[in-house]
Amino acid sequence: MSEVLLRAQGVGKRFGGFVALQDVDIELRAGERLGLIGPNGSGKSTFVNCISGDFAQHDGTVTLDGHALAGLKPHRRARLGLARTFQLPQPFASLSVLENVRVPLLFSGDAARATQRGMECLEQVEMAAKAAMLPRELTQVEQRRLELARALALNPRVLIADEAMAGLSNSEVDQIIELLLRLNAAGTAVIMIEHIMRAVTAFAERLVVFVAGRKIADGEPRAVLGMQEVEDAYLGRQ
C-alpha cells in the first residue's frame, strides 16, 4: 500500500459556540480517490477549508507528506501541491482562460514556461481551443474545467474537488468524472466532496461520511453506503 500523503488528526473547528468539526481523523494515500460525503452542514467544506488554509483549525494537526501545515497560508500550501476547486467556480473574471491558468504558473518557479505549461494544462481538460476567451463566455461545465486546469497548473499531489459537479447535467457530470479519473491516473490523489451519489460511487475507492462535524464512517464505498448510521444520517432517523 502506498504511503500516507495527507494526514488530518483530531481536527476541530468552532465558530463561536458552534462546533463545526470535532476530532476528525482522515488519511489520504498517494494516488488515492477519496469521496467525502455528508448532509448539508455536516462540516465537509469546513474540513476542506481547514486543509487548504482558508480556516485555521482550533484543534488537531494536518500534515502533507510529513510536513506540518499549521500556520502556512493557503498560497504556501498550494505551492506544496495542495490544490482545490470551489463549490462555485471562481475564475479571474477579467483575465482570459489562458491567463487564468498562467497565474499559478507565474508564481510557481516555472514562470519562463508559463504560457507553454498553461496550454498543456488546458489541453488536459480539453479547453485549449478556448484559451483566448473570457470566463464569462464559458458554459458552466467549461468553467468547472477551467477551475481544474488552474488547479492542475500547481502540479498538485492532492486535489480537493469541492462539489465540482454541482449544477451540471448528467452528461456533464460524466465528463467531469472522466476528467478526474484521468488526473488521478496521472498520479494525483483526489478528494471528491459531492452530493451526487452516482458520481461519488463511480469515482471513489474509499468513502468518508461526515455528520454534524464528526466522521461517522470510513471505508469501501459499498460497505459504507450500506451502514445503518449513514442511511439514518441521510434520512434523518438518528
Binding site: S52, D54, K73, P74, H75, A78, R79, A83, R84, F86, Q90, P91, F92, A93, S94, L95, S96, L98, E99, R102, V103, P104, L106, F107, S108, A111, A114, T115, A132, M133, L134, R150, A151, A153, L154
Partner: protein
Amino acid sequence: MSATTIPVTAETAGPRNLAFWGGAIGIGVALVVILRLIGNDYGYFAGYFVLQYVVLASAWNILGGYAGYVNFGAAGFMAAGAYTAVALRKATGLDLIPGIVAAAFVSGLLGLGTGYLTLRLRGVFFSIATLCLAVVLQTLIVNWDYVGGSRGAYIVNPLEIPPFASWGEYMFIVMLVLAILTVGIARAVEHSRIGRGLQAIRDNERAAEAVGVPTLRLKLIATTLCGALMGVAGAPLPYYSGYLNPDAAFSLSYAVNAIAMPLIGGAGTWAGPVIGAVLLGTLQQAATVTISSALNLWIVGWMLVIFVALAPRGIMGWFRKRR
C-alpha cells in the same frame, strides 16, 4: 477593468518597450520645445499641473486599478512627500532632487505601514482607513511647527537656473521626467507577474491565494509603490509654488482627482490614468483661466457621472469594446 489579456512574450516585449520609451521621450522633448517656442510661463504651469496628476493617477492605479483596493488617502501620501521635501530642505539645505528621493522613501514607508495595518480590510473599509490616514497626517502637520504648522512653510527659489529658461521650465521638466518614469514603472508592473498577481487579487482574492499567489506580499508591494510615487508627485509642490500650507497640501481635489482620472481614462491599464489626467487636468485648467477654479471639482463630478453612465470601464474600456 481590463478586458481579454494576451501574454507578453519575450519576443514582443522588447520592441514594445522600445516603442514605449521612444514614444514617451519623443513626446516629452516635443512638449519642451513647443512650450519654449510659446515662451509663456503659464504653459509651464499648466503642463506641470497636468503632469503632476499623471504621476498621482498612475500611482493610484497601481493599487486601485490593478489590485482593486481603492485608496482615498492620495492627498495624505502626496502631502507626506511635499512635507518631506520641506523638512529636508530646512534640516539639511538639500533641494528639490534629494527632496524627491527622500519623499519617495518616506511615502513608500508610509504606504508599507498603511498596508500592514489595513490590508486585512477589504472594500469600503480599506478605503475609509486610507481616508482616515490622510486626516491623521493633516492633524500632525498642522501641529508640527518645524514645517510651519498651520501657517505654512516658505521655500525661496532661485530666480535663474541655467541652462533652463526659467524656474517654471525647470519645474515642468522635472515633473515631465517624473511622469515618464512613473508611467514606465506602472507599465512595467502591469506586464510583470506582480501585475498579473494583482489583477488576480482584484478579480478574486480567495481564488488567487488558493492558486499560489502570495496576496499579502503583492498588496504590500503595491501599497509601498503607490505611496512612494504619490510622495514623488507631492515633493516638487512646495518648490513650485514657493509656499505650502496644510490646506493646499491635503486638498480634497488631490484625493478626488487621483480616483476620478484613472476611472475616466480606464483603471487597470497604464494608459488609462494618463488619458484621464490629461483630459481632466486640461479641462480643469481651462475652467480655471476662463471661469473659476471653484468649478474644478464640479467638472470632475459631472465627468464621473457621464462616464459611469456611458463608459463605466473608462475611455480605454470603451475603445477595447468597440474593437
